[in-house]
């Protein structure tokens, strides 16, 4: 029943979203949605097409983050033409070059760039505030709007509410038999990132009402944590769950990282509050490995996982470099870890199935 709320039209947009507001696309969760909302636009997370690329390879090398190549392909093919603009963040080498290539050959033509430091201490927060301020000025000029502190505060309230509701929903997965699968949860988070926040909040409350009362019917197989590169679709989660395990938590930017913390609400300087929160997201790109390990370990304990699946996209250096360190830490803490390296769509399904099956049997 609750899944009815997630039904979308063919472009992935709910009919309840006000039609008079333009949409601004963004690729990274380090981009504050509040700024887009403050500009009177709807934030729309680009999650990829999950198809092989052709034309993007004329601009960027094939030995490159496949999700970025995928986004560029979509931009070249005009698949994001319904957006008024897109914000590319400096979250990796690949995204920096995506910004270059998108400006050359993609649509929409309004391409904004947001610089994001890899640290969350005072000076880095200050630098990020300056970068956010520069982004706002650029958006104000391009979109002919004014982004006011009041508008930002209102957006912070709205987004915080979404975060709290998603945190409650995620909390249900701590149950021995969670009332929703990892696949379902992924769908909810993706949906929340692409729709009008007021509408999302309203529907999330209804979903919670239903699921908080429901008795879990999830599987009793091994409980897994999924961590690593961005996943654009729940394909991998479905595969894991089809094989009898359940993904009960995920450290993914398309998963629980999205609502990891709240923005300080009544800050006299909303931009600084945003800078602090968006640098505090414990993604792998941040240069604080100790904090990241602490976050991952806490998640694994809180969700009582039996094992960890570490997913990396090919050529996604941040995760390729992080993996051995995190694997060792998990192993020392008594968790088994399975590494899966793949494209942004599953091409080697049979091989992955065999490995996941062996892993779940081992955990069982």
């Amino acid at each position: 029943m609750w899944k009815e709320y997630l039904k979308e039209d063919s472009r992935g947009v709910l009919q309840y979203a006000p039609v008079d507001r333009g949409k601004i696309g963004y690729l990274s969760i380090h981009v504050p949605e509040e700024i887009i909302l403050g500009a009177g636009r709807l934030p729309y997370r680009l999650l990829g097409r999950g198809k092989p690329v052709k034309r993007a390879s004329a601009y960027l090398p094939k030995t490159f983050d496949p999700s970025v190549l995928d986004s560029l392909e979509g931009a070249i093919e005009g698949e994001y033409g319904f957006l008024e603009g897109v914000i590319v963040a400096n979250v990796s080498d690949a995204h920096r070059r995506l910004y270059d290539a998108w400006r050359l050959c993609g649509t929409p033509k309004n391409v904004f760039f947001l610089d994001v430091p890899k640290g969350a201490d005072a000076l880095r927060v200050k630098t990020f505030s300056l970068a956010l301020s520069a982004l706002m000025r650029e958006m104000e000029t391009a979109l002919d709007v004014r982004i006011s502190p009041e508008g930002l505060r209102e957006a912070i309230g709205l987004c915080n509410e979404t975060r709290v509701l998603l945190q409650r929903l995620a909390g249900l997965r701590r149950q021995k038999r969670p009332p929703l699968s990892g696949h379902d949860f992924f769908d909810v988070v993706s949906w929340a990132q692409r729709n009008d926040k007021s509408y999302v909040n309203q529907k999330l409350r209804l979903i919670l009402q239903e699921l908080e009362m429901a008795r879990g019917n999830g599987t009793v197989g091994p409980r897994l944590m999924l961590t690593g590169s961005p996943l654009g679709s729940p394909e991998l989660i479905s595969l894991i769950e089809r094989l009898g395990a359940q993904v009960v938590c995920e450290d993914l930017c398309t998963g629980m990282q999205y609502f990891s913390d709240l923005v300080e609400k009544d800050s006299p300087e909303p931009l600084n509050a945003l800078a602090r929160r968006y640098l505090d997201i414990p993604t792998a790109r941040m240069a604080d490995t100790r904090a990241r390990w602490g976050y991952l370990h806490k998640m694994a304990e809180e969700y009582d996982v039996d094992g960890v699946v570490y997913f990396t996209l090919k050529f996604d250096d941040i995760y390729l470099f992080e993996y051995p360190f995190i694997r060792n830490k998990f192993q020392k803490a008594g968790y088994r870890v399975l590494l899966i390296e793949a494209e942004n769509f599953l091409t080697n399904v049979g091989q992955i199935e065999t490995r996941v099956q062996a892993f779940t049997e081992m955990l069982g």
């Binding site: 090398p61 030995t63 050529f315």
Partner: protein
């Protein structure tokens, strides 16, 4: 070959032996005295960093050595350790080790070699680590992992992408000052601004000589082989701020002036002038020897020797260092790099560009096609993207590389005769 030796003294002896062998290696050319002095200075720096009691700061590419010298510490540019290791042929076991530890063969070999060396504990141990957000994602990540493993502090500098924005200089200068003061605490010394000012002056002096050397290299025929010149990596060398760099660069100028005066050409007869972008294969000189010796195509200039920053103000060391870092064309949108490549093409009367593209280098690989297309819009110069590895000789295929270079040189030859399209 023992490279798993755990004692510093034995390691120092091992490396000394390797470096001596390296210095005495047979070369296809007579090196300049300044080049030999540069090699010795680099090896000495590395050996010093093994010495008991030395303070060593690991740094990534763009961390200014000046702040580390000002604290009486040794800047160890760890990626250059990989290059040295490759040159003395101890890299394959380091890479094998990193692969056994779980690091992907698709990622940067400079970093993987250091990871392997760290695992074998053959690196000088750091007292602190400093990384910047440029060039690449890998540096801050692995520096943080090293910091955890060595239980030493890691300081990270965020270099603003918007290098030309008004706020970028102040934002970076503040971070540089903060890092310097924190490093001083780690070293147990007060920060001495006067000492930093002196080091900045020394850095300025070396810069003036190296700029002069770059000017001298515009001479046709070229007075210096690219094979030799590329090792100066003037834009990023860890010798910035050291008195050695002043001596070396002064000597380099004198030698180049002398060669020009005497009419000595590095390649005779000089058929083509090439611009080489990115670093080089460190495990052998074959590619350069083939281009410069066999094809008489001199590498007239290299992007890594480009000096883009202005003279620093010793009274404002952090602001000046921030300006120096931000002047790097690798920061920001690709148009900045394209602009500089176009300038080098004009300044050095370049016939063709070789853009070296190692498999695991996301930063440089990803810019190749964009810069090539950008240049095409304003200049008609052949641009060749050469897939070649800097560190890992295991994937090197001499004949394949030669075949590709032959094709490129053929294009250049055809253009001189006015009949071949651009590649």
């Amino acid at each position: 070959m023992t490279i798993v030796e755990d004692q510093r003294k034995r390691q120092r002896e091992f490396f000394t032996l390797q470096f001596q062998k390296r210095l005495k290696r047979p070369r296809g050319y007579s090196p300049l005295k300044s080049s030999q002095a540069r090699e010795r200075a680099m090896f000495r720096l590395l050996l010093e960093s093994f010495r008991e009691g030395s303070s060593v700061v690991w740094k990534s590419t763009f961390v200014p050595s000046e702040i580390i010298y000002s604290l009486g510490a040794i800047p160890l540019y760890v990626e250059s350790f990989s290059a040295v290791a490759s040159a003395v042929d101890i890299c394959p076991p380091m890479l094998d080790t990193s692969e056994r530890c779980g690091y992907s063969r698709d990622s940067c070999t400079f970093l993987r070699a250091v990871l392997g060396a760290s695992h074998k504990d053959i690196l000088p141990r750091p007292d602190a680590l400093v990384s910047t957000s440029y060039y690449c994602d890998g540096d801050p990540k692995i520096f943080d992992i090293f910091a955890e493993e060595y239980k030493k502090p890691h300081f990270y500098l965020h270099v603003p992408y918007a290098a030309e924005a008004g706020w970028a200089i102040e934002a970076l200068a503040e971070q540089l000052e903060e890092v310097t003061i924190e490093l001083a605490k780690v070293m147990g010394k007060p920060f001495d601004k006067e000492r930093l000012s002196e080091i900045i002056q020394s850095s300025n002096e070396a810069r003036r000589y190296l700029l002069r050397a770059n000017e001298l290299r515009r001479h046709v025929p070229s007075p210096m082989l690219g094979c030799e010149a590329i090792d100066y990596i003037a834009s990023i060398t860890q010798l910035w701020g050291s008195p050695e760099l002043v001596r070396i660069s002064r000597l380099l100028c004198e030698e180049l002036e002398e060669r020009i005066e005497k009419g000595v050409a590095a390649v005779d007869p000089e058929q083509f002038r090439l611009l080489w972008c990115h670093l080089r294969p460190y495990y052998n000189d074959e590619v350069f020897n083939y281009l410069e010796g066999h094809h008489k195509a001199v590498v007239a200039f290299e992007s890594v020797n480009l000096i883009t920053w202005k003279e620093m103000d010793p009274e404002k060391p952090f602001r000046s260092l921030a300006e120096k870092l931000l002047a790097n064309p690798a920061i920001g949108p690709y148009e900045r790099m394209t602009r500089e490549v176009a300038r080098m093409i004009r300044d050095y009367q370049i016939d063709g560009v070789v853009w070296m593209s190692p498999w695991g280098c996301r930063h440089f690989n990803s810019m190749a096609q964009l810069v090539k297309d950008g240049l095409r819009r304003e200049l008609d110069v052949p641009f060749y993207i050469l897939d070649l590895e800097c560190i890992d000789k295991r994937n090197y295929s001499k004949e394949q590389v030669r075949t590709r270079l032959d094709a490129f040189i053929e294009v250049l030859g055809g253009r001189k005769e006015g009949c071949t399209p651009q590649v």
